[in-house]
Amino acid sequence: MTDPHGHGQIKLQYQPALPIPNGKLFLWLFLSTEIMFFAALIGVYIVIRFGAPDWPGPSKMHLVELIGAANTLVLILSSVTVVLALDAAQKDNASLARLWIAATFLLGGLFLGIKVFEYKSKFSHGIYPALPHSRMYEKPDVYFASAVRERLRVLYARIDADRAEIASKKTNLLAGPQTEDVQRQIKDLDDRDKVLADKKAEYEQAVGPVAGDANASAHALMELSKRIYPVHDEHEKNAEGEAEHESIGLNDKYPELKLPFVVTGGNMWATTYFTMTGFHALHVLAGLVAFVLLLFKRLDRTRAGIVENVGLYWHFVDLVWIFLFPLLYLF
């Protein structure tokens, strides 16, 4: 009852086994659990990737190694800034520490920004996991063929509906008085109709007859899949090691087509790529939140422990990326 708070509580003494603060011990133990989490993800990736009958190379999946390398550098830099922040905090230089934390925050943000850019470029090519079925097919089989047919049916139906609407408008206009204005509108409609008709003809020409044929041969389907999404085999590179990019697929040529396409092993690539980078990005995000919270505090010597713990976490995020970068971009 000597305690002023009235808890009847006395300050107990302990016999700690390790010469570090509880917070730091907690953080290292927490990192152990995190290591196991990422070990599971990476282990699964190794089995899925190296046991796969086919695995698409980076260029097939529009993955640019240089961007990955740049992101690695960004994270390394942010690791330096956070360690300098700790240094400053330990030297009781609160304003400098805050500056370094702010720099770390910006670098982390830059990393996420680049990540978003990368994700967007995948999404724009139709590379993402989706239920019940993504647009990516493993092989040019009947399911792929029927998916192409279905997509074309929807596309053509939309064009046909637009043309029917134009036709009905035109009939209405023809029934009324033929002023000059109306004449011009009719000509407009005719032009629009022609554009649509040409478009459909172009699509039909480009996709070819195979798509409409329920009994298309395997070879024809293979040709179709190559027209939609030309695959550069990673072994078909020229002498300089550069992949040849000159062939352009239908989906690139007509972005509105959004046809199903074939990348062997592509679905598992997307599955692992998005999961691993996604969980890593979530950890980066959590780090950014921690940095924002730190920015509201005076980071003098008394708070060096907190800066150190957040820093340890941030270095761990960096460590994970050090392994993810070669595994995902360079293997």
């Binding site: 009852m1 302990y14 016999q15 152990s32 196991m36 046991g51 399911y143």
Partner: protein, 602 residues
């Protein structure tokens, strides 16, 4: 140090008197969103006991169907199956056993041992005022609530709760169209388990930090009670194994929601349509799941082993035989536990070489387990045992664990397992270990530490009635299952009698069901005893059992901050019948007596 200021007891009583007229805010911070490890422990205790009854009722549903197949099931029949005259559907049966196992494992045994007893006992037994991180501790309890809500909600969604087995094997669990319960129910199951996992992870890191850093002066690692060792090793197991399950659960969740295909094989056709993008590997789930779930069986038994060791030594009034070997064997069980998970996958088609490796490592676990059993037996050897209810439960733990452990060696051998795989032999084994082992230990723990938790004694007579009924009905329920399993009676089938081979086993199943109902009903005695004793039980002092460990030197119930004196530890917790003192117990905090250092065991 030794003179415990008893005056404080009155002060505390007074404080509690005062507490009666506290405001709502005070009530919320004291009993609901409390940072106090004791309150959090009791919150875990009561939540899990409620789930215990839910899981038990689900099991009785399973038993009803097996004893009186396709007859009107009481209550459930009228509620959900009035159109078929109260006869349940096979899918409902599948849901019953899936949810029974999931709830019992993830919502009862694990949280009651680590969450309830771990929380309540760790700071008290090592002489700390609270956990190292009280806020984190509170969050670990409140993260259970989203899990509770997910599980409750899953019963009411279209298609019903998960029915993919507690192991949730894909592709059944990964593909929405695979079964009615593979719709939303399975998603909620996965989410519930993720929340439980996060909760356990927060708890385990907190326990480890507390045990490593916050022991009272003199409380060296090798003076800690076995309960604490059990909790400590369990926390390590959780820290290393649980993240792997969490990763696997996230993968399954993503397979189900955003369309990844970790566990959906290529070319999988479900109901005439290709299921997902494919290309994944269902076997990976089994690896990741069992990488957690085999260590999880030790997470479910090691703390109980520790608690039972303490009870046996206390009531045998003898030092625990082989204290250090007990610790090493717990550590050995935990270490070996990480390299044996493949014994759940003998039938998965993995390489026979790998199977043999897993078989050998599994059988090796018998070694440290046997050391523990022999040490318990040696502890009670020639002892003047005090047959309290807690001791009876502890002794039944030892005997039933022997039976469960032996049947485990049977199925560890690949050739035997190929025959008894997916039969009731497996069910008998798991229940001998989990109910006969862990749950008996938990019951014993409740009787043993109830006085410390609430400051009142439980009724011993009704405790013994509860014990004998539970023990008899338990064996009546689960022993015949060995015979069923040897006869090939398959588990997880709503109607095994569909096969003529199994029709003669119906009477035995009816006997089992009668015993199961009896066992369920016996638990009402426990509930009544707890509630009555909570309100009207005789008040007890600090140390009703004359036990040695630190928690018995704190007030009953301990106030905020646990100790009203600075505990200093001078010896191990098992100095019963010491020749140095007149009492037959020698608390850890009593200052050394003359000649002790010459006798020093530890």
């Amino acid at each position: 140090m030794a003179a415990i200021p008893h005056a404080h007891d009155d002060a505390h009583a007074h404080a509690h008197e005062h507490g009666r007229e506290m405001s709502l805010g005070k009530f919320l911070t004291t009993y609901v969103f409390s940072f106090d490890h004791k309150v959090i422990g009791l919150q875990f205790l009561f939540s899990t006991l409620i789930w215990f009854s839910v899981g038990g009722l689900l099991a009785l549903g399973v038993r009803w169907q097996l004893a009186w197949p396709w007859t009107k099931m009481p209550i459930v029949g009228d509620l959900f199956f009035s159109s078929t005259g109260g006869q349940i559907s096979p899918e409902f049966y599948t849901m019953l056993f899936t949810m029974h196992a999931s709830i019992m494992i993830f919502f009862v045994i694990i949280p009651i041992l680590a969450g309830a007893f771990g929380n309540f006992l760790i700071p008290l037994m090592i002489g700390a005022e609270d956990m190292a991180f009280p806020v984190l501790n509170m969050m670990s309890y409140w993260f259970m609530w989203p899990a509770f809500l997910c599980m409750i909600a899953s019963f009411f969604v279209e298609g019903g709760a998960s029915a993919a087995g507690w192991t949730g094997y894909p592709p059944l669990s990964s593909v929405h169209s695979a079964a009615p319960a593979s719709h939303t129910g399975q998603t909620l199951w996965v989410m519930g388990l993720i929340f439980v996992g996060v909760s356990s992870m927060m708890g385990s890191v907190n326990y480890m930090t507390t045990i490593i850093q916050m022991r009272a002066p003199g409380m060296t690692m090798f003076r800690m009670p076995m309960t604490i060792w059990g909790m400590f090793i369990t926390a390590i197991l959780q820290a290393f194994a649980l993240p792997v399950l969490t990763a696997a659960l996230f993968m399954q969740l993503m397979d189900r929601t955003i369309g990844t295909s970790y566990f959906i094989p290529e070319g999988l056709i479900v109901n005439g349509a290709p299921a997902g993008s494919g290309g994944g590997q269902p076997l990976l789930w089994q690896h990741l799941f069992w990488f957690y779930s085999h260590p999880a069986v030790y997470i479910m038994i090691l703390p109980a082993m520790g608690m039972v060791s303490d009870m046996i030594s206390t009531f045998a009034r003898k030092p625990l035989f082989g204290y250090k070997p007990m610790i090493y064997s717990i550590a050995g069980i935990a270490g070996l536990g990480f390299i044996v998970w493949g014994h759940h996958m003998f039938m998965s088609g993995m390489s026979p070489w790998l199977g043999t490796t897993f078989m050998v490592s599994t059988i090796m676990i018998a070694l440290p387990s046997a050391i523990k059993v022999f040490n318990w037996l040696a502890t009670i050897w020639a002892a003047r045992i005090q047959y309290t209810t807690a001791m009876l439960f502890a002794l039944s733990f030892v005997s039933l664990f022997i039976i469960g452990g032996l049947s485990g060696i049977f199925m560890a051998a690949t050739p035997v397992d190929i025959f008894i795989h997916d039969t009731y032999f497996i069910v008998a084994h798991i229940h001998y270990v989990l109910f006969g082992g862990s749950a008996m230990g938990i019951f014993g723990g409740i009787y043993f530490w109830f006085p410390k938790m609430f400051g009142r004694m439980m009724n011993e007579f009704w405790g013994k009635v509860h014990f004998f009924l539970t023990f008899i009905f338990f064996n009546g329920t689960f022993y015949p299952m060995h015979i069923l399993g040897a006869a090939g009676f398959p588990r997880r089938l709503a109607d095994p009698y569909h096969y003529e081979t199994f029709q003669h086993l119906l009477p035995m199943n009816q006997f089992i069901t009668v015993c199961a109902i009896g066992m369920g009903a016996s638990q009402i005695i426990l509930a009544a005893n707890m509630i009555y004793s909570l309100l009207k039980g005789p008040k007890c002092g600090r140390n009703p059992w004359h036990a040695n460990s630190l928690e018995w030197t704190a007030p009953s119930p301990p106030g905020h901050g646990n100790f009203d004196f600075q505990p200093v530890v001078y010896r191990g917790p098992y100095e019963y019948a010491s020749p140095l003192v007149d009492d037959d117990y020698f608390p850890q905090t009593r200052p050394p007596v003359e000649g002790e250092d010459k006798l020093a065991h530890h």
